[in-house]
Amino acid sequence: MAFDSFSAFITMDGHGPYVWACYAVFFVLMLVMMIGSVRSRTAIIESCRRGYEFQTDKSKVAATSAPSASFERVNVSQD
Amino acid sequence: MNAEARPEVRLASSSVGALAAMKGVFARDMKVAFRQRQDLLNPLLFFIMVVTLFPLGVSPEVSFLREAGAGILWVAALLSVLLSLDHLFRHDFDDGTLEQLVLQPQPLFLLILAKTIAHWMLTGLPLVVLTPVLGVMVHLDGNSIAVLCLTLLIGTPVLSLIGAIGAALTLGLRSAGVLLSLLIIPLYIPVLIFGTGTVAAAAEGAAVGAYLALLGAFLMLALTLAPFAAAAALKISLSNG
């Protein structure tokens, strides 16, 4: 141990705030990045799953035909 | 159609050399630019205005201006080149001439080199010509002005060449102008450092030959590599559009 006491370890001869701030920011950012990466992975898996389930539901209903354009006037009522 | 009736294929007979093709590209860009002279003046006016901001915004004192003058002029020149880069390929992209450029049976990097040379003649070179006037306005001495002009003469083509890569990469994107600056400014830093450093060395009475040679080396490097990168980038951007 390079320090005589725990309080000496914390203050580090007055350099404590600098050292601890660095380590805090480092660990916070690393953690945020790591958790964020895990989360976005779960999120994408979740959204895929929902997509697949939606797909199977849709195919159960009916095989829809491709939409074709009719260019019919849409009646917009004025009153 | 039956096979007997099918005539023989006649392939394209001749082609022109790459140099003639480069001349064609260069001539067209020059012609287009001179049909729109106002656009030629814009980077120059911008250059002058940015330089004017420093005495107004920081200090009109002779000592400050003499010390910072070279840097101010270099930064202003860099920014006005940056400003003009957005147009390097954009109009050609919009009206379809860029497609036809890419489809010429010529090495694309040479055609881009020709376009970049035209761009430099229309922006970089006028800036160099204007520099002595502005140099006097920021109280640089004659020797410094001469060295500054020399560094800009070697440095601005590098700016155009590197800029061509950025312009090609951001072609057809939304907010391409801002993005272009973000991509390109970091790459401009070495040119800026050696450009202003050379003038600073000259002001201290040191020999500047070595520094100018180094700037020349930058130019050679940019001349050999940048057109290839810009050609690759251009193909990617066109493929996207």
């Binding site: 701030a21 | 450093g197 600073a200």
Partner: protein, 247 residues
Amino acid sequence: MWQFFHKLGSPKWFFGISARFMPWLLAGGVLLLMAGVVWGLAFAPKDYLQGNSYRIIFIHVPTAFMAQSIYIMMASAAVVTLVWRMKLADVFVKAVAPVGLVLTFLALFTGAVWGKPTWGTWWIWDARLTSMLILLFLYGGVIALDRAINDEKSAARAVAVLVLVGVVNIPIIKYSVEWWNTLHQPASFKLTEKPTMPPEMWVPLLLSVLGLYLIFGWLACIRMQTEILSREQRTRWVKEFVMRGRS
């Protein structure tokens, strides 16, 4: 050989193999990093010149080292993207660029905070910090370009060109910044130059560098997996993988 190369480029293959490595990468990385940091913070001797503030080195050097090596890795991947059009390579570039950005920022931040007790000022235009700042800009440019292009393939190839242009420039930038630095403030006090660093100092430093390297490996894997999943949503193997937990 060629077949192996193609297999290496297959996202599906990567997905399987990376899943096996990842727990080890994470566990090893965290263990080594913690060992290095705790040793460095509590047990390594005090520096006779800078006092305890030097203990920032145990995270400053690893982040700075990683920030640079990630860019080099991205450049190698960019070559693979442009030459062989391997899908995995552009997935890699896209996945790790933000990690590089964060680590570069951390290197800058720790450097600046270290500067305060050492030089008495938060920011000094020191050659190292300045080139780190420029590296931060380069990372920012890469990410911005990637975001700006909608089409995945075009984005990957445009980014690859940009990364390569950047990597050609990095030595030039470094050299010019160092030259500029000596021009403006000759013989300044250097941060880390200690040719005779005792083993009690460099061993924990080595540990934390290795640890961060492994954690980066884990981050790269998981982020690449995310990217692969989103790109290959419509393939059968992703569907099987996603629906495995169900039914």
